[in-house]
Structures are given as structure tokens and as C-alpha cells.
Symmetry: C2
Subunit: 117 residues, 2 copies
């Protein structure tokens, strides 16, 4: 199995509810591909959308792929943009939102064992 794909070709799961709004998530490279140690997901957040504010006992390594947005950490919002990298250590409360007018896309990687999506 030779994995080379465009992330937009991957089936997306849409998230919308009380805690999350306007988010589509895709597992770009995961355990089903033979990735034994960590998993790459891509998230597209529509303008006005946001991920849930939460914490968990695994880390995130994030790279902004497209657009602009903000990340909540330590009680405040921080501007991020295409090319920004963010490390969220385990158990830190965090949230991402799109406060801009174009789609905000970021890669978010997690260690093996955490839920892929």
C-alpha cells in the first residue's frame, strides 16, 4: 500500500453541536495505514467555526496549512496563520477558532492510542 493522497480527497467527518461548530475532520495518515506511532489529521474550520474547548492527556502538534485563526491557551486567544506551528502539551486546555473570512485549515497530530477523530 503506497500512500500518496490529497487530503481533500479523504472522506470528512463533520462536527457540529454545542461544543463545536463548522468543523470538518479527516484522518490523513492513521493506524489503518500502518502508522504505528502517531496520526495526522486535517481539520477545516469554516468562518465563525470553532473546535471544542477541552483538555486531554495527549499532546497536539499543529501546523496551520491555510488561512488564519486563533488558538486559546492559558486564558487568552492568540493569532495564528498559515505556517504557524503550535505545541499543546498533555492536559492543557485549548481551543481553535476561525475568526476570519476564509477557510482555516490545520494539521493536528496525536500520538498512537488517542482517538483519531
Amino acid at each position: 500500500m503506497k500512500i500518496i493522497r490529497h487530503f481533500e480527497e479523504i472522506e470528512a467527518r463533520s462536527f457540529s453541536g454545542d461544543q463545536v461548530k463548522g468543523v470538518a475532520g479527516r484522518v490523513a495518515i492513521g493506524a489503518a495505514d500502518g502508522a504505528a506511532n502517531f496520526c495526522m489529521r486535517l481539520f477545516t474550520v469554516e468562518p465563525g467555526g470553532h473546535t471544542p474547548r477541552h483538555s486531554h492527556d495527549w499532546e497536539h502538534e499543529i501546523l496551520v496549512h491555510e488561512g488564519k485563526g486563533q488558538v486559546f491557551r492559558d486564558g487568552s486567544w492568540n493569532d495564528i496563520e498559515r505556517g504557524s506551528v503550535i505545541f499543546i502539551p498533555p492536559n492543557e486546555e485549548h481551543q481553535l477558532r476561525n475568526n476570519d473570512t476564509t477557510p482555516f485549515v490545520f494539521a493536528c497530530l496525536i500520538p498512537q492510542g488517542a482517538p483519531e477523530l
Copy 2:
């Protein structure tokens, strides 16, 4: 330590020699940041440049961040572009090159224990 940075602000290491040409590498998130399980690097390949053709016993999870290029796998070159994701399993020979006219930038993640750069 609250890590939010733009990858271009990170000091780059330049690679040039018999095996590699026109490549600048940056550790975006690594062990020094407290990342215990995997490491994100960003590589910028100039037009005409390439990484070494090699294999090793750890995997790569790659996301093309900017531009176009090619990845060598199983004896042939495959076109990749912004938004392409590639999984290189352990011990598979691979190489990336920029056969285009603009910079080719990709994120390449490796598990803990592999050399970061």
C-alpha cells in the same frame, strides 16, 4: 513554555553535498519543546534541489505545505503538491525533489528516537 511560532522564524540548517542539494531543515516541534512521542520538521527545497535517497527504520508522515515536487517510491517518481499527504513506512527507500520553479516546502514527522535533523 507556550509554543506558538512561525516555522520561518526558526533557525534553519542547510544541507548540501553529494547526496542532498538545496535543502533547508527546521525542527518545528521537537524533544527540546517537551514533545515526547514525535517530532515535526519543516523542509524547504529550492528549485532543482533534492533530499538524499535513503531508507531507515523509522517512518515519515509528510504534508506538502507549499509548492510542488516529486517523491521517489518503489522505483518511480510521483507528483505531489500542496495538500498532498504521504506515508513512508519504515525501511522503504525514498527521496523528495523540487522539479518546479518555486520553493517546495513540506512537513515531515518522525517518531521519538529518530534524529531530529
